[in-house]
Amino acid sequence: MSRRTDGSRPSRSIPCVLGSAFMVLAAAIVAIGWLYNRNYQQHYRAAAESQLSVIADLKVADLANWRRERMGDASVLFNNDAFSTLVSHLDSTGDAGARKQLRQWLGQIQTAHQYDRILLLDAQGAPRMAVPDTPEPLPSTLASDACESLRSGKVSFSDFHRDTPEGPVRLSILVPIFDTHDARGPLGELVLQIDPGVYLYPFIQRWPTPSSSAETLLVRRDKDDVLFLNELRFKKDAALKLRFALKKGNDLPCVKAVSGQEGIVEGPDYRGIPVIAAVRAVPDSPWFLVARMDQAEVYAPVRRHWWLTVAMVGVLLVSTSFGLALFWRQKQARFYREKFQMAEAMRASEARYRRLFETAQNGILILDAGTGMVVDVNPFLVKLLGFSRQQFLGKKIWELGFAKDIIANQAGFAELQEKKYVRYEDMPLETADGRRIDVEFVSNVYEVNHHPVVQCNICDISERKMAKDALRRRSEELALANGELTRFAYTVSHDLKSPLVTIKTFLGYLEKDMAALDAQRVGNDLGYIRTAADRMSLLLGELLELSRVGRKMNVSSEASLQNVVKEALAMVAGHMAARGVKVEITAEPIWLYGDRPRLVEVFQNLLDNAAKFMGDQPSPRIEVGARTADGLTVLFVSDNGMGIDPRHQSKLFGLFEKLDPRSEGTGLGLALVRRVVEVHGGRIWVESEGPGKGTTFRFTLARTQRKST
């Protein structure tokens, strides 16, 4: 189970990262928007400038052309023989034909070239002919201009002017007429009057593309002023009336044009509104052309574009922030989902382990490693030890006392903790009611939330141990029985073979001795054979008897020691009486439990044995009684007879073992006694300090009780 301990940290750091990311993105978006807009503005401005320049160039070229054409018109008539002749004819003869012809000619020029009026003056400046012939008076300035022209003898251009302050604006071309045949002086002056309103002004004002503010201005320098020559789009009656001073700081485009600048300029126009203008000087004239457009109009699309860019940047910023917010939300959602899932997994895991803890068939004790305090205990241990759960909780492990063999005190606990892992295969515990149970004790130290805990697992091995002990006892018994069986088989084969060897060998001797008719030896041989056969019969009978012990049991019953011994004594009464043995039986009430006839046999054999080996004891005595040793009742049959050499005591209970080969019996008696005692869950041993010191047989029997009836 892994745990995230810094659960809230990711959600706190993410907004910081996202905020920074947003700032960077926003700055980039704004910068890109600004650069894009600037680039667009520059591009658009360049396009506008180029448009203004192209228009200005076109118009300047047209104006120059127009002027050349006008001067061309004049030069056709200047120094023209035919024309001069006609004019001179008019002067000298008053020829009506010449007049008519002249009028026709001038009329053709006037109509073809859209002149307002063509005047023919005489050498003094008096009008002689006008086409068309209007009664309009001759402007005063014209006469002086004409005189000036006649004096210079050259074609001259009379710039925009008004003949009267409120009169129409005019342009005039003055052509002096000389007689080409004799140099008598001038014949007159031809004045080609142009009304700019007819062609020039519309031409100047015409703008090739639709525009709300664009217009072309024609200006010239008039002393220290700039004089507007044409009618304006936004100001009525400005021609030759509107003027601006040529002074420093006056950065109107027209001022700049007159000051000699060419190209694109900026500045306020006559209305004071900022404009962009292309300024040019018109060649061979005092005119300057200004093609201008309001900055507002030029930049209107740029501004629209700017707003569009701003809107786009705004949209981008908003969507970026939305995107980031969405990302954050998702991240947040995932984080909480994961946290939730983790918590769910933890809960499931906790439930699983809790169930394991609650249902474990082993005792589990959780201790705080620092204090040794019981933190938790599972129901199994509560049941096993018989303490209540409350008795466990909050107590220090060594205060509880049940585990005093493992953790007697705080030092013991410290040792447990230090070793990290401790395992005792078999330790006693004391339950609440004082019983001792055997357990396997395992303790582990591990960390929970960075805090060390000690977990003790306690497994009740009482039953296992009992079974193990039983198994060990059983296997010991089996080994014993097996050994006994081997010994038995060996003994039987040896002891039964022995008389057989005797019988067969002496039968051989018998044959020989009979052949030799040696009656004494035949008798001897027969004696050996008979003895051997008898012994064999006895051995077989006793073996059968021995094999019955433990195999064929009578019903167990309780009997008093006194009764059993008395019964045994009755069977050996002959021996006892013959040797004058005195038998003393304890008066203490002792109760034996088992196969009564067999128990009688035990005492019978022991008493008989004692009587048999009294030796030369003058006052033979046998004592039967019981002592208590190590909580066990030990019965004894003690005599004051010949005793047994300690060296020979080990062979005493062996099958068919006899210490005295000449003694009666086969050596089965004590082997039988041992077998009966063992079948009754007891043990028998002999004590004798040596020859002449008497012998004591001691034995135990299961379920022997010293009690009064």
Partner: protein, 147 residues
């Protein structure tokens, strides 16, 4: 041993019938011998070590050869072997085991504790007689004993 003197054999045998068989066979043997019979292991040790009434070597001469049964009262044959072979004086004394037991453990025990030969009593008159004759021939006629 004195040249021409009879070879002294100590027979350790608890069964009087078997002792009689050995006695009869050896008595009939042409090599002079003297058979001394004891009935248990303790008596055999006492005799060999000259203890408990056997101290008089004139009356109870030291044997040249021991014929030893294994299954004996008081002290068994293997123990007799062990004590004799552990004694500096007696360890050169040849001991021939004569027993009814053909058990492997008995044989191993006997040889381990210094038995010179291991003979099993046959359950047959002719064979037993032949065994004792061969034994006599080998041990009394051919075998040489140290002085």
């Amino acid at each position: 041993m004195v040249k021409g003197a009879p070879i002294v054999i100590l027979l350790v045998e608890d069964d009087p019938a078997h002792a009689e068989i050995v006695r009869r066979n050896l008595a009939a043997f042409r090599v002079a011998n003297r058979l001394i019979h004891v009935e248990d292991g303790q008596a055999a040790l006492d005799y060999l070590f000259g203890r408990s009434g056997y101290a008089d070597r004139q009356k109870h001469p030291r044997p040249d050869l021991v014929l030893l049964d294994l299954r004996l009262p008081k002290v068994d044959g293997v123990e007799v072997l062990r004590q004799v072979k552990n004694d500096e004086e007696l360890k050169r004394l040849p001991i021939v085991v004569l027993t009814t037991s053909s058990a492997e453990t008995d044989m191993v025990n006997a040889y381990t504790n210094g038995a010179g030969s291991y003979l099993v009593k046959p359950v047959d008159f002719e064979k037993f007689t032949e065994l004792l004759e061969t034994f006599g021939f080998y041990w009394l006629a051919w075998n040489r004993f140290p002085d």
